[in-house]
Structures are given as structure tokens and as C-alpha cells.
């Protein structure tokens, strides 16, 4: 009998109050003590608190193993800055960075930049896919061994290992190369919430981790199968996709566990462990993205209760076996597009 696929767990640490970096650090550390794969920090363009990328960079040096996945929006930003920021999070965390790609389609967000045309969800998600694509190219625009420090010839870099990306998107172009050398993971982990139909194509094309708002186990499994099939049709190895069910959890002291409805679970930590074990054993998903209703109390219950219970059953790691987020997710470090295709410099 083959060993069951490893279970992956992530948790959201966002929500008000937004102005306390110490609180975010405490939550990330709790998640790290629970050996979770990564934490997410929700954000929007024009959100009320500190920007999520900045906030997770702030806590990177004070954590050791936990993956750090800020929401980064792509609609009103410069792709060149976005990829540089995410690559830098990977450098300062020594290979623990991801980014949750999101779009901005509200008129309120539009007014913050005074952009004339409002981009609809379909166009915004198509553009998000272009930003993900050009980001990977820019991360590859430096080969890993581009820095040579060759004293005899006086060359700091081998310019044959630096590459123009010459990307032409529908709304932007980028010449490249990046300013930031290729980050430790090669590509930081790309996360896309594919709960809404409009984001599914972008997820199938570009995501390493797909988030799906949990329905029933059967519905979620069917959606995941559909996504893998779509990725395969696009020429990707569907085994390189990690599909996590997003579940809002309320681990109160309330009575019996309720079945998840509309992506919500209410009940005891042990009840949640039962649910996770059941779904995972049935092959519905690779893991869960858990959103505690009240993170300050909920996250501790999650790690002390649910995660501990899963570990007792041998379903979840009892130590980190790797140092990078890709390592936790058992995703290989990607080959460099330019090194493998011999792209012209």
C-alpha cells in the first residue's frame, strides 16, 4: 500500500487590529510552533493596515521555518516592483516566501490611483496571470550562478547569464532583467484562490498552490480534479499543484461539531481534526487553508488541539523536514527558463 500523500496545512493571520506588528509576529510564531506549511496575510490595494508584503517581511527574521504568503494585488501595481518585492521577501526569509495573487476591481480601489478605466474581473484576472508569468521570467532573468567575481577579467557578473525577458502583455511590457538576483527558491510559491470561476484559468496556468473554498468533500474533490485536468491540458504536470480547501473555523467551546457548510466549520479542535483526516484520506484535497474566525484565540486552539491530534494519528509532520516553503510543500525548485532554453542575453 503506498504511503498516503503528505497533509499540508496553512492558516490565515489577518484581520483587525492591523496596527500591531507584535501581534502578527505572535500569530506567525504560533503557526510555526504548530509546524504549519505557511501563513497567509490577507490584503487589498488600499487596505487599512500595513501592506501584507511589508508586514511579513517585518516578521521574517523573527521566524525560522514557517512559509510567508502575503496577498499581493496586481491590478494597479507595476509588475516589475511586484516581482522584486516578492523575490526580496524570499531573500530576507531565506526561501520561505510565497504570494497570493489577487486583483482589484472595485471603483473605490480605482479612485486611489485615478485610473480612468475600471477593469472587470475577467480582464483583471487575465492581467494577474500575465503578472505571474512575467514575474517567473524576471525571477529567472538571473541564472543562479550569474555572479562570478572574476578578478582577472574584472567582471563581477557573467552577462551571458543575465537575460532580457522582453515580455509583451495586453496592458504592459517589461524588458528586464530584474534588479534582484534569482531568489533562493528559484520561484517563490504562487498561490491563487480559485473559489470563484473567474480566477480558475489563472490558477490552472500559474498557481503552485490553489485555494478552494470548501463545499462538501465531494464538491471540493470534483473542483480539484477539474483544476488538475485544466492544468494538464495547459501542459503542466498536475502533480505539481497543491490544492488546499479554505475553511473558516470557529473553534468555540460549543456543542457538537457541525459539518462544513459554505466553507465554515464550527466545533471542537478534535472535531476539526476528524474532518481534516476524513477529507484527506478520501483524497479530496492535499490539505487545508484554515481561517480562524478569531485568530488571537483560534490559532492557538488550532495548533494545540487540531494539529496535535493530527500528529498523534501520524497524519502530520512532527518536525520541519526542510527549510524552504517549497520544501514543506514538496515542490521542486524550478529549473531556470533561460538556462534550459539557452535564451539569448
Amino acid at each position: 500500500m503506498p504511503a498516503p500523500a503528505p497533509l499540508h496545512l496553512a492558516a490565515e493571520i489577518g484581520g483587525p487590529p492591523h496596527d500591531d506588528p507584535g501581534r502578527l509576529l505572535g500569530l506567525a510564531r504560533t503557526a510555526e510552533e504548530g509546524l504549519l506549511d505557511f501563513v497567509t496575510l490577507a490584503d487589498s490595494f488600499g487596505g487599512p493596515g500595513p501592506d501584507a508584503l511589508g508586514a511579513l517581511a517585518r516578521i521574517a527574521p523573527e521566524t525560522r521555518r514557517i512559509g510567508l504568503v502575503p496577498t499581493v494585488t496586481t491590478t494597479h501595481t507595476e509588475p516589475f516592483h511586484v516581482q522584486a518585492g516578492v523575490a526580496t521577501l524570499d531573500w530576507v526569509s531565506r526561501g520561505r516566501a510565497g504570494w497570493r495573487v489577487d486583483v482589484s476591481t472595485s471603483a473605490a480601489e480605482n479612485r486611489l490611483v485615478g485610473r480612468r478605466e475600471l477593469l472587470g474581473p475577467e480582464a483583471a484576472w487575465a492581467e494577474a496571470g500575465e503578472v505571474a508569468e512575467v514575474s517567473r521570467l524576471l525571477w529567472d532573468s538571473w541564472e543562479d550562478d550569474a555572479e562570478i567575481r572574476d578578478t582577472p577579467t574584472g567582471r563581477f557578473v557573467d552577462r551571458d547569464k543575465l537575460h532580457y525577458v522582453d515580455y509583451r502583455g495586453t496592458a504592459f511590457g517589461v524588458r528586464g532583467p530584474s534588479i534582484v538576483p534569482r531568489p533562493p527558491q528559484g520561484h517563490p510559491v504562487t498561490v491563487v484562490d480559485a473559489s470563484a470561476a473567474v480566477s480558475r484559468d489563472t490558477a490552472a496556468r500559474h498557481a503552485d498552490v490553489v485555494l478552494l473554498r470548501a463545499g462538501t468533500a465531494e464538491e471540493t474533490a470534483a473542483r480539484g480534479t477539474e483544476l488538475r485536468a485544466r492544468a494538464a491540458a495547459l501542459g503542466r504536470d498536475p502533480g505539481t499543484l497543491r490544492i488546499l480547501a479554505t475553511l473558516v473555523v470557529d473553534l468555540g467551546d460549543g456543542p457538537a461539531a457541525s459539518a462544513p457548510g459554505g466553507g465554515h466549520f464550527g466545533g471542537s479542535p478534535a472535531g476539526l481534526a476528524d474532518l481534516i483526516a476524513r477529507w484527506h484520506a478520501g483524497g479530496a484535497v492535499d490539505g487545508f487553508h484554515l481561517v480562524p474566525l478569531a485568530p488571537d484565540t483560534g490559532l492557538a486552539r488550532l495548533t494545540a488541539g487540531t494539529v496535535a491530534a493530527l500528529r498523534e494519528r501520524g497524519l502530520f509532520r512532527d518536525r520541519y523536514e526542510d527549510t524552504t516553503l517549497r520544501g514543506h510543500l514538496r515542490l521542486a525548485r524550478p529549473a531556470n527558463h533561460f538556462a534550459t532554453t539557452g535564451g539569448a542575453s
Binding site: H18, D19, P21, F45, G46, G47, P48, G49, P50, D51, L53, G54, A55, A57, R58, A60, P61, E62, H76, E78, P79, F80, H81, A84, G85, A87, T88, L89, W91, V92, S93, R94, A108, R111, L112, V113, G114, W142, A146, R149, T151, T153, G154, R155, F156, V157, D158, R159, L162, A171, F172, G173, V174, R175, G176, P177, I179, V180, P181, S345
Partner: protein
């Protein structure tokens, strides 16, 4: 002889520059570490904080430089994105100010105001923004907005950008939830403001020496980052910039002048001079000498011997040989100056480049350097200095260990941080926003 209370001595402000993409880092030195690993940033930042510096300073580049149509390969190249690495440094420092150079041409006010206010919040009031602009289509090829601004427009856009960012920070400081800004370059509005800045607003730094740059700094900056050669040139610049302040309703102490300088220490004066000369020879390799010459001439001069005489051809004023660098405003004037120096002293190409591309330097024993720095500040040639080490990340260790204690003994440098915010370190009070505002 009458005795009275001694007036407080003018205090020196110090900052540290992490040399990113540059041609001054001696990367071939075995003590030269990584320019990208976070550990390098941690070491230099902690050294600066151990030395009670005001802030840690990062430059920015948005397109790799090119020479003769190819990526330039002789210089240190590659760096992390500034605001993100400074957010991480906020975790491993307590008091040090964190200054990011960010281009106003290729960003939007709301987004940048939020990112800087976030850094300010996450660092407990230690953020600064060094405002730069860009006009070249070359850099613009990496951005949505392209590179279409002419020189005049990029300054008016930058001025409006800073004013809009300031309006956003001030609205947040005053507890307002909504704001609107309408001008020639931006028409933006919203129902939320960036996070409130713990120091009123992030410190604004301006680099530049042009008349427009000086006026812009006098109107909007808290710190001006400059370079000037001699004490007298520094005094003239200082007088000129400080004189502009009252026109903008500001006081002399509202703007600090901090030139970028290098320091070379030795056990004796001769020892320091010898080290400085050796560093210059390492910085200007034969390949770099020809490259520097080509920057002025705008021509391929690779056939020339770096140890031979300067070329007798004229510069090409319309050269596209160099991309991503500021060219000499008048290459004919620069070439004439270089030729005159070379003939007068009998210098080779490489020796001429070494002489002409030197930065403002303090070279000597620790006590001589401390005395020279104190004189610069006491005689109003500067309010302090941004130190640019030639080695990363250990290049400031010696200065902090030996010169800082001597400045403290002289009573011209703090012996502990007395405030928590960068604004407090710099002695800036005129934020326009009361920190206690609800």
C-alpha cells in the same frame, strides 16, 4: 575672564549607506561579502546602530546599466527591493532609521504612501523616503507608464507626488478616514488613508545638486543628500540651501545637509594615505579605467592602453554608448579638464581616472578624521555625513569602533539614542502634525 553656560556644540548626524549597484565596492577583496544575502544587510545595519547612527540608507536602480548595448559587467550589480529589505531590518534593529530610495516617476502616490507608512508603523517610526526621479525611456521599458516625462515634467510630477503623499500621511495622522487630491498629475480620492505614521510622517530625503533640486529640497525635504569636494564648496552649498528655507516658511534647522563621504583610516597619516591609494587602485582596475573614460567620451576606447595617455579624439556629444547612468552635462568640458590634469601631472588614463572620480573623503588616523568631521560640521559645511564604505558588510566596523568614541569625547556626537523615531534622532520638529493627534 567671564564664565557662563557653554552653548551646546552642534551635533554631528551620521548615516550609513549600503553600497548596492556601484563601482566603488572593492568586491575582489577577500573580506568583501555578499551584496544580496540578508546577513550582509543585518551586519551593516547593526554596526550603524551600534554606532548610534541616525539612519541606514539604500539606493535604488530600476534597470541594469548597459555599456555598448550590453549589460555592464564590471560593477557590483543586483540588489533586493529597498522597502521590503528595510521592513525585515526593522526586526533586527531598535532605533536605527531606515531610508529607502524610491523613484517617484515609476510609482503612484497612494501605493507608495501606504508602503512607506507601513514601514514607519512596522519600525516604530523610523522610516525615510529618498525621493528620486527618472526621465529616461531606457528605464521606462520596465514599466507600465514608460519613460515619457521630460526633465521639467518629472520635477513637477515629483513635487506633486510628494505633496500628495504628505497630504495622505497628514490625513492619517489627523485621524481622517477620507481624502481627495486633485492636481495636474494626480486626481485621486478614497475612503481610507494609509496607516498612521508614528513620527507624524516619514522623513523625506532629497538627493541632488541642481537648482531645481535645491529648491525642491528647501520646500519639501527633511534631509538633503549631497556630495561636495572641499570645506569651502560645502560651506557655499550649505549657505545657499539654508537661505532658501524661509521662502517656504521653514527654519534652518528643518533641513539637514548630509554629504555622502568615504573614510579611510590608518595608524598614521601616511599609512592611511597609502591605504586610500591602494583602495583607489582596486576600485579603478584597468578595465574600469577604460570604462570611465568611455563614459565621458561616449566612444569605444577599448583599443587604448589604460597605462598610456588620454585619447586625442573628441567626445561624441550624442552618444548612446551608455545607458542607465547620468552622463556628464558637458563631455567636452569634462574631457578638456581631464586632459589638462593628465598633462599637468603626467598621468596615464588610469591615474587620471583615479584622480578625477574620487569622492569626498576623510583619510587619516581616527583622531584626525574625527577632527576633520567636527570641523566640517562646526563650520557649517554640513550637518552630518552619509558614510559610504568600500567593503560590504564590514566596511564600517573600524569607523564605529575608533572614530565614534572620539566624536563622543569631543562632545559632538550622542552617547546614546535620546529618542525613538528618526525624526527625533535628526532633531526635526516641524512635522506639521502633532504626534498626539487623535
Amino acid at each position: 575672564m567671564t564664565t557662563g553656560p557653554t552653548p551646546p556644540r552642534k551635533q554631528i548626524h551620521l548615516a550609513a549607506h549600503f553600497p548596492g549597484v556601484n563601482n566603488t565596492t572593492v568586491w575582489a577583496d577577500p573580506r568583501s561579502g555578499s551584496q544580496i544575502d540578508f546577513d550582509s544587510f543585518v551586519h551593516l545595519a547593526r554596526t550603524a546602530e551600534r554606532g548610534l547612527f541616525d539612519f541606514f540608507f539604500l539606493a535604488e536602480g530600476l534597470r541594469l546599466r548597459e555599456h555598448k548595448g550590453r549589460v555592464h559587467d564590471l560593477d557590483v550589480v543586483g540588489r533586493p527591493e529597498s522597502i521590503t529589505v528595510l521592513n525585515a531590518l526593522a526586526a533586527v534593529t531598535d532605533r536605527l532609521g531606515l531610508a529607502a530610495t524610491v523613484n517617484a516617476t515609476f510609482n503612484e502616490p497612494w501605493e507608495l504612501a501606504r508602503r512607506l507608512a507601513s514601514l514607519d508603523l512596522l519600525s516604530g517610526g523610523r522610516a525615510a523616503w529618498n525621493v528620486v526621479t527618472s526621465s529616461d525611456a531606457f528605464t521606462g521599458e520596465n514599466f507600465r507608464r514608460g519613460g515619457f516625462l521630460d526633465r521639467a515634467d518629472r520635477y513637477t510630477r515629483a513635487a506633486e507626488f510628494v505633496a500628495a503623499a504628505r497630504a495622505l500621511w497628514d490625513a492619517a495622522g489627523a485621524g481622517q478616514r477620507s481624502f481627495a487630491w486633485s492636481g495636474d498629475h494626480f486626481a485621486i480620492a478614497g475612503e481610507s488613508t494609509p496607516p498612521r505614521s508614528p513620527q507624524g510622517r516619514p522623513v523625506v530625503i532629497q538627493a541632488g545638486d541642481s537648482d531645481e533640486g535645491r529648491e525642491f529640497a528647501a520646500s519639501a525635504a527633511d534631509v538633503i543628500f549631497t556630495r561636495h569636494g572641499t570645506l569651502e564648496a560645502g560651506r557655499a552649498f550649505y549657505r545657499d540651501v539654508k537661505r532658501r528655507l524661509p521662502r517656504h516658511g521653514r527654519r534652518e534647522e528643518d533641513l539637514k545637509l548630509m554629504p555622502g563621504v568615504t573614510v579611510v583610516l590608518g595608524d598614521t597619516a601616511a599609512d592611511a594615505q597609502e591605504r586610500a591609494a591602494e583602495i583607489r587602485r582596486q576600485q579603478i582596475s584597468p578595465q574600469n579605467a577604460i570604462h570611465a573614460l568611455e563614459l565621458v567620451w561616449g566612444r569605444d576606447l577599448s583599443a587604448y592602453d589604460p597605462d598610456g595617455p588620454l585619447p586625442d579624439v573628441d567626445p561624441d556629444p550624442d552618444s548612446a554608448l551608455v545607458q542607465g547612468r547620468v552622463r556628464h552635462a558637458d563631455p567636452f568640458e569634462a574631457a578638456a579638464r581631464w586632459r589638462a590634469l593628465s598633462e599637468e601631472k603626467g598621468l596615464s588614463i588610469r591615474q587620471t581616472v583615479i584622480e578625477t572620480t574620487s569622492r569626498q573623503s576623510f583619510i587619516g588616523t581616527p583622531s584626525a578624521v574625527a577632527a576633520a568631521m567636527a570641523e566640517f560640521v562646526e563650520r557649517d559645511a554640513a550637518d552630518g555625513f552619509i558614510l559610504v564604505p568600500h567593503l560590504t558588510p564590514g566596511g564600517l566596523d573600524g569607523f564605529v569602533d575608533t572614530v565614534v568614541p572620539l566624536l563622543q569625547e569631543r562632545g559632538v556626537f550622542r552617547t546614546r539614542y535620546t529618542g525613538t523615531t528618526l525624526r527625533e534622532h535628526l532633531g526635526l520638529t516641524g512635522t506639521g502634525v502633532e504626534r498626539s493627534a487623535a
